[in-house]
């Protein structure tokens, strides 16, 4: 199969948006407002934290809020100097969205937390572990969610049975990103 025809190509996966279970985007926005816009989205790797943060950003901007997004991970770490520059350029009307709060140095995190109290409209972060800020939502995945996404991406791939997807979800410990990458390889092997 050509890469461009692979239903699990990265650009197709990027188009999948966060799917809410037991709550909704509007409920989450109300809760975020109640929390004075200082909160954390928590959950393990591949559970949809970044996707949800992106979706919230769009919804917040639609409601007229200004946001400033910063992605931090092992591949793009944040130095102390970069952190200070980012914070110095903030304006009080901006809501800071920090993806990967637990990937920045402890000293930078304290700086972020302290500085954004006075100099920003809020601080919304994603983190693998709870405790950095009050938890807005804990992202989790299920085998059923994986099946739903696979059905949307690749409705005509009979090899991807519910049992296969359950085992895959289990093997990757709920990491949907890892599951979808493996499914790319499964499809790539097809003629």
């Amino acid at each position: 199969m050509r890469a461009r025809d692979n239903p699990f190509a990265a650009d197709r996966i990027e188009r999948i948006r966060y799917r809410f279970v037991g709550t909704s985007l509007d409920e989450l926005l109300t809760r975020l407002d109640d929390m004075n816009y200082r909160a954390a989205i928590t959950g393990p790797e591949g559970s949809g934290k970044t996707t949800l943060l992106e979706d919230l950003r769009e919804a917040l901007e639609y409601r007229g809020l200004r946001t400033k997004l910063l992605f931090v991970n092992d591949a793009s770490p944040l130095s102390e100097a970069q952190c200070r520059r980012f914070l110095s350029e903030l304006v009080p009307q901006e809501l800071v969205l920090l993806d990967g709060a637990d990937a920045i140095r402890r000293s930078s995190w304290f700086l972020f937390r302290r500085h954004t109290v006075r100099h920003a409209a809020g601080l919304l972060v994603t983190s693998h572990r709870p405790g950095l800020l009050p938890t807005l939502i804990e992202c989790t995945t299920t085998a059923g969610l994986l099946q739903e996404i696979v059905r949307d991406l690749s409705p005509q791939t009979p090899a991807l049975s519910p049992a296969f997807l359950r085992a895959l979800h289990n093997r990757h410990q709920g990491n949907l990103r890892a599951c979808l990458r493996e499914l790319y390889d499964v499809c790539a092997k097809a003629p």
Binding site: M1, R2, A3, R4, A9, A10, D11, E14, D185, A188
Partner: protein, 148 residues
């Protein structure tokens, strides 16, 4: 709901590297856009992070809600349009109106053979590593690869 359209001359969508891509754009939008942007670009699709290269952009300011215009772009020597199991490189023309999110894309093929280059695995055929990477390198470079 507005409408954007890209029409290639003679409905031709396969071009040689360095060739001329010509056609016409048409727009019929509900509101007056501030800008219309037509870009010639390539992007990758596959397992890894998406890569994009924008080669040229034509911008029309205050185009009005309804209209049409001709365009002409000269293609660079490469990269060629290609597909393997891990990555595809796709050339396209993209027309976008601002503000709003109206976008239309017309895919084209840029290749010296008149078809998308298909990269096939040559492992196990007793060829050296240099020969195995030759088709891929030629697609990226847009010129015959003579080896290191």
């Amino acid at each position: 709901m507005g409408k954007l359209n890209i029409e290639l001359n003679d409905s031709r969508n396969v071009f040689a590297p360095g060739g001329q891509v010509e056609g016409r754009i048409e727009w019929s939008l509900d509101a007056n856009p501030t800008t219309l942007t037509l870009s010639l670009l390539w992007y990758t699709s596959g397992k890894g992070t998406r890569d994009v290269g924008v080669l040229c952009t034509n911008r029309i300011d205050s185009p009005g809600a309804l209209g049409s215009d001709k365009f002409s772009f000269t293609l660079p020597p490469g990269p060629y349009s290609f597909s393997g199991k891990l990555i595809s490189l796709i050339w396209a023309l993209e027309l976008t109106s601002t503000p709003g999110s109206e976008t239309v894309r017309e895919e084209i093929v840029v290749s010296p053979t008149g078809r998308e280059i298909l990269l096939t695995s040559v492992a196990g055929q007793g060829e050296g590593k240099d020969n195995q990477s030759r088709p891929f390198l030629e697609c990226i470079l847009g010129v015959p690869y003579a080896g290191a």
